[in-house]
Symmetry: D2
Subunit: 387 residues, 4 copies
């Protein structure tokens, strides 16, 4: 069994999810090369040390430059804020480290291409964190499509609905500031749906969208961490500079029609990352809030018992599930990261690029920017205009 | 096209449902013999005249004895209160009329047997109003079982849950008084589940039950009609003399295990008449609150897409549905009565006994009484003890 | 009780639905003015006579010009093919008859405006058949929005998904031919969603769409009626000249974002006419395949029990339901027409315009055409460009 | 931060689940005393060593007697086969170790009482593994009931449905042999439902049941492990000596009526551990296959929006959830063990007995045996008869 020594930059929401995945791999996927949690890095010495102890890393660093050049590191895992991705990734590539980078790959397409090129030139493995691909139910969707059991795809409808900022007195966290976050719901949530569409349906051809910021000013918070923030509702207001919601139409290269929506203004939806696909031989529905389930319909079922099946993708026949628990014993959100990191380890072991990799990060970024451009110019924009 | 002349006794909830069915038949099932709404009968002259006009009957009677002997009547439809069923049915049989009788057939088994014998001796058609059999989704369940697609049946779980008397200040309506209603939720709701079980699984062998009256006294109402009543919450209290809930276990002659529950104390359940059947080759689920749907599971489905299918039983391939609307356009509660009356007309036309008939009414009554006896004597009671 | 004498033109799918509604009104809504089914009209003498008998009309006509001028007719009900609406409606108005016209009001906006003007000038009542408004669950949605319980509306997502022509050998019925049907799924299904959006959210401001015809040629049928057709799969092919699917984005005048999709290529969806609305205080979901239900979420619910409620809109407190059956006893598709015709009768009785009326037909047509224009010109089109 | 040194006996399904929980605690619940995975024990030296490495234990033992007396062990975790529980637990108590014991506590009531007494006399902490209590959604159910928000409880309906042995050629694994397993679906699955009922509704008063073995002989397997087995379908047959299904009625001391069913013959149900509770002020529904959700109904909701709410119990307000991920990001089966072990650690830290403990194990066993006795003697059996 070989060891892959990991250095991780970032220790908040994603840092916790990744750490959990590294800890789970040797136990649940013992046949795969094993990650060693070598070093965790963050700017705040106290915070990173606390995370080191809690998450179980060997050492801590406060300057990522020091970490990416450490001899005892094989992999750099980047889950720092999005505006830091590019510089770190390029340095890591230069140091010959394999790179796992959280989505969005970069703040814009040009940067993401630069990152891809750096990684390719350095000959390192590169992966991007579209974790939702790694739900067993989504893998089942992919399998059904690949095997032709859904037929030619006509429609893709993707939604990512949340509701955590519906309250207009919710404070102006960094995710609502363009200079730090790059984008709002479009880049944060829509990116996941775009990747899912690419994974299952194929490449986008052209798009047109619209977006809106429903609450234009919010109280400036006194402190914030991760998704949450504490603030005074009567604090001075600052401008929200990202989109609260973005909706767009798409044509896929394969001929399918798509509609994609990302919003943080859908009360009742804590995390509805859902899609439906209709093809000539059947349909598929998925909702992340019930991530163990896939709904599937086949036109060829006997005429008197046609209907959407609720498949609980927890049988040992379903992807990854023989590693976990008996049929019917469900898994959760965090398991998508474990499966994702398994793919990363496996790709290193097999000396191939993992999937999804920076190419997927670039392509997703191209679609995101095509949508932005279509909004700005109020016209259909072909993805090819941006590449 | 032949005409079947109907005289109906009763004009409340069931009278309305039956009238609607008679009105619908010629339009939606024009090939079947046509009911003619000859006479409606009720003790209150004003009330019955109003119903006559509203429901569209030719004439009104206030004494059922006058009606059952009218020469221009072929069929007597009995939906008067349960305690009047027996006398009317026997008189109707004596007059040579075909009989449709609402469930429960009678207040007790002995009476129901007497009614069956009278009808058989008179050589008339007789039918009992277990309308839920006539949902297309239930007919689909029957078809799947009959064709062996569910295999050997292991389990039947039946529930009839309502919540209209959960409020302890709801008044003491006649349905809560044993001398008029005969029984509480057991006879009112449980009877439907028993009939469904007999229809789909087969005969009961032995039973044991328990029952409870959760609210033992209620305000005596000033006036009541149908299911509703108006009353003063501070009115004097009277004793509730029927069961609020009855639950029982059953063994079927075919070897299946059954559990059946009827209650009026299940908040949130307006009318959950549901069942699940598990067999060696599959399972079936039905809930009357979604009566157009049947959930079906087959063990022989491909291993990666096994799951309960939600079949919308509205395709033209499903029972009765070519008479109504295009696929996906649902029907409602009242349609079960139209289908039921279609069977009645068809049986007369084809000179055979309709199904379900008084035999089914008798068998259902036997199970009801076996449960009552099992509760009283705190022991398993075989149905054969009562026949 | 006053009588409203109806003459109806058309006797297929919609003619059947309207006839059933007229028959149901006196029984279930006896307090409202009563329709008298005076005459039914169709070009085929045999066909219309058969419908006359089956549906229960007094007389039959084969030339609509004869009928609209009959002295014994107060109302003309138009459910003939769409291309005949305009001429009939204008003649009916000229004859001083009240008019009920099925949707789409006309084949294009100009015609629909002409119809509206004719009706307004004649001073007659006019109504258009957007029947889905009349589901009790939809009425509940309207009530919640009107009372401010959903707050400011941010999102409208509307879908009308069907699957009856997914099979590429399904024949080339008239609904797939532009010269007769005017439009494909957009005008047939999308129109209903547009009306629902206008009813619940308000006026559209601008739109942009895309459409597709997935199966471009189909076998020419030998005979057809209503939605179905018989044909040889090996028959010569003819061109499909309408859209199989149309999807569009919208901005509403009130600031909400909308996405609307109509398709006949969604396997498993027999008739999914659904929408979701998100507002500042809650959300609403509806699916016509479960038309008795409305899902509702309120942000102000206690923090530990927030969740979408499945409201079964069958209590007597819900619109229309005290006319039907006890709580939990569901209704079906056809009841929406009964409620619709009740509104029509009531409007005549109260001497006011019914809702929805030709104004709504015109506005819906304007949105449909704006979408068509946006597709043709590949740009956002304001509704105001067309009015 | 104090350390609790654990020695675990058993390393299959439950051993894996417990190991995962111990590994997760320091990371997700860092404030609680920390388990140290000191030693794992199993009879097969090769198997236990493999598990030691995979699960991350410090050392391995092959004789539990050696382990329970080790000085460096504070806690003995027993998840060996059920027939070994008693001897180990008593020895562990004698050695002054705290004890965690998987359910069923013992093979019979007498043994379980002996275990309880031993633990009490030794003054050690004792806990029993009813892990389903530790779903956040179940904790929410408990909270609602405790706060009186459901009112007086009238009904408990509990089901544990599985389908892994429906195929009659599935081999005769040890769980189907009474001498090893003690019981079939009743003790394996029904025990969980009984504990859930006790947790939420209170003590049982009397019961009556029935059971069945549908497939009476099965092929003798060549090898087996955990839930699975490999075997030749044509192998010689051996007798199944446990129940395939057991169903029983119950009266609770508090007056509620209960029905409980456990079966392995319910096709389509991989692991439906579900219950519904109806009370005077509302209802609660839970299904383990959707363990993040609780359905809740309140009679006091506004009359026009009454309905079951689907509460996703993943908000930070819900039990344990602030330790995991943001709202809407679900957890799975394994998390119930982490929460369970958290309670165990916390009880040690706070020097109190954990809940559920051996008393709960004993009470559950009493109900199980009362049901067995009721089946054997075909009569109602009071729980008090057995204590």
């Amino acid at each position: 069994m070989s060891i892959v020594r990991v250095g991780m930059i970032g220790y908040k929401f994603m840092g916790k999810a990744h750490s959990n995945a590294y800890r789970a791999l040797p136990m649940f996927f013992p046949a795969v090369w094993k990650p060693e949690m070598k070093a965790i890095c963050g700017r705040d010495a106290g915070g990173v040390e606390q995370a080191r102890v809690q998450f179980g890393w060997e050492s801590a660093e406060t300057d990522w430059r020091d970490m990416v050049t450490r001899d005892d590191i094989d992999v750099v895992d980047i889950n720092a804020p999005s505006d830091a991705h590019k510089e770190i990734a390029i340095a890591a590539a230069a140091a010959g480290k394999h790179i796992f980078c959280e989505k969005p790959l970069a703040l814009n397409l040009a940067d993401s291409i630069e990152m891809l090129n750096a990684a390719e030139e350095a000959g390192v493995k590169h992966m991007v964190g579209f974790n939702y691909r790694f739900s067993p139910a989504v893998q089942l969707a992919k399998k059904l499509i690949s095997e032709g059991r859904i037929g030619t795809i006509y429609h893709f409808r993707g939604l990512f609905l949340q509701d955590w900022i519906v309250d207009p007195t919710f404070p102006l966290v960094w995710r609502l500031q363009k200079e730090i976050a790059g984008s709002g719901s479009h880049g944060d949530l829509g990116a996941h749906v775009i990747d899912m569409a690419r994974f299952l349906v194929g490449e986008f051809q052209e798009v047109i969208g619209m977006s809106e910021t429903f609450v234009k000013e919010r109280p400036i918070p006194s402190a914030m961490t991760g998704l949450s923030a504490k603030g005074d509702k009567d604090a001075p207001l600052g401008a929200v500079t990202v989109d609260d919601a973005t909706v767009f139409l798409a044509r896929f290269a394969g001929g399918a029609l798509g509609s994609i929506e990302a919003t943080r203004f859908a009360p009742g939806h804590r995390c509805t990352n859902s899609f439906e696909i209709n093809g000539s031989k059947g349909s598929i529905k998925f909702d992340f809030e019930r991530l163990n389930e896939l709904e599937v319909y086949f036109t060829e079922d006997a005429v008197d018992v046609q209907g959407f099946r609720r498949v609980l993708a927890t049988d040992s026949t379903h992807a990854y599930m023989d590693a976990w628990w008996p049929a019917g014993h469900t898994i959760g959100y965090e398991h998508t990261f474990t499966h994702e990191m398994r793919e990363f380890m496996l790709a290193i072991e097999e000396d191939r690029q993992p999937v999804p990799n920076f190419v997927d990060g670039v392509e997703c970024q191209a679609v995101l920017e095509a949508v932005d451009k279509s909004i700005e110019e109020r016209r259909w924009v072909a993805i090819s205009e941006l590449r």
